[in-house]
Point group: C3
Amino acid sequence: MKSYRKELYFTTNKRREYINITPDVERAVIESGIKEGLCLVNAMHITASVFINDDEAGLHQDFEAWLEKMAPEKPYSMYHHNGYEDNADAHIKRQIFGREVVVAITNGELDFGPWEQIFYGEFDGMRRKRVLIKIIGE
Amino acid sequence: MKSYRKELYFTTNKRREYINITPDVERAVIESGIKEGLCLVNAMHITASVFINDDEAGLHQDFEAWLEKMAPEKPYSMYHHNGYEDNADAHIKRQIFGREVVVAITNGELDFGPWEQIFYGEFDGMRRKRVLIKIIGE
Amino acid sequence: MKSYRKELYFTTNKRREYINITPDVERAVIESGIKEGLCLVNAMHITASVFINDDEAGLHQDFEAWLEKMAPEKPYSMYHHNGYEDNADAHIKRQIFGREVVVAITNGELDFGPWEQIFYGEFDGMRRKRVLIKIIGE
């Protein structure tokens, strides 16, 4: 069994942003030399998500509006967590969108359906944060 | 390390439907010959989910009503994604219910608690869509 | 390839509770002797979650209040599932927070960012329930 590990770094310009990291993960799969296995991609921070969906700007606007309706950023005082912090909404948004994805590797490639793309979902950005890629297989 | 790959196909009669795919996954585990490992089951489309919950018709009615309240199908015009499409709600429903499950394989079987069943959750159906099963282990 | 399996047991005092199980999972990783691999941690029951977030009491209050707003426990009669049961809300809460986490193991340790902690999220407690840890790797 082989394994491979890589970190990605992000500093977004806005508090909330979606970044397509599919090319980075594809590169890591090639670097790993693994042909058959599983690829874990997870946010290493608890106010961010990694998820798979469509790379369509309108949909990302819908995600932003919908998450803000579900768990609004403000007023900050509505959350107990926000004594010294202001990011309780980001913790909740991350719970909805999830921490990680696990993707099959087949014939040395991400084994994807036609529209699957991997996104880093930042909900409390403007500072350096990390994503972990861990691949195991043969 | 061994690996095994299989696709399942679904064309639902309704836009939204829950299909118990546990027997299909159990069959794949047997076909794989893998006794100890991990089994990934994921929707290959971004308007569908794979999740684990109870096979109880009343609960599935509750899921349907609850998801419709959270992210209603209509009016289509409420979503930016719905210029040429009408399925923004399905992309959001899939975000809530998740893309995939990872299940342990122990002694050649899905290592489940008493009521765990695997479902394909279709949120934009009436056309052919796929689920991927990928098993690694020994 | 090596594999390791362990169950954890919980009987909470309240219907809903969050328990930090990181030390239990760390112990299992050591017991497994696995240095590089993947660690699956999943609820074996369908009214409970395993998830990763912050160990901060105010945030857990926010989670409780937010989930109750999203899928209230009462009135029980609002759910079709609640004919003989009263836990439809717990099934839905678990859908939002997810069943499982998959964590990378690197150099014999959980490969975590600075604040990641693993929680058992109980949504229908006061009885004995289980979590499965399954580790594969080398």
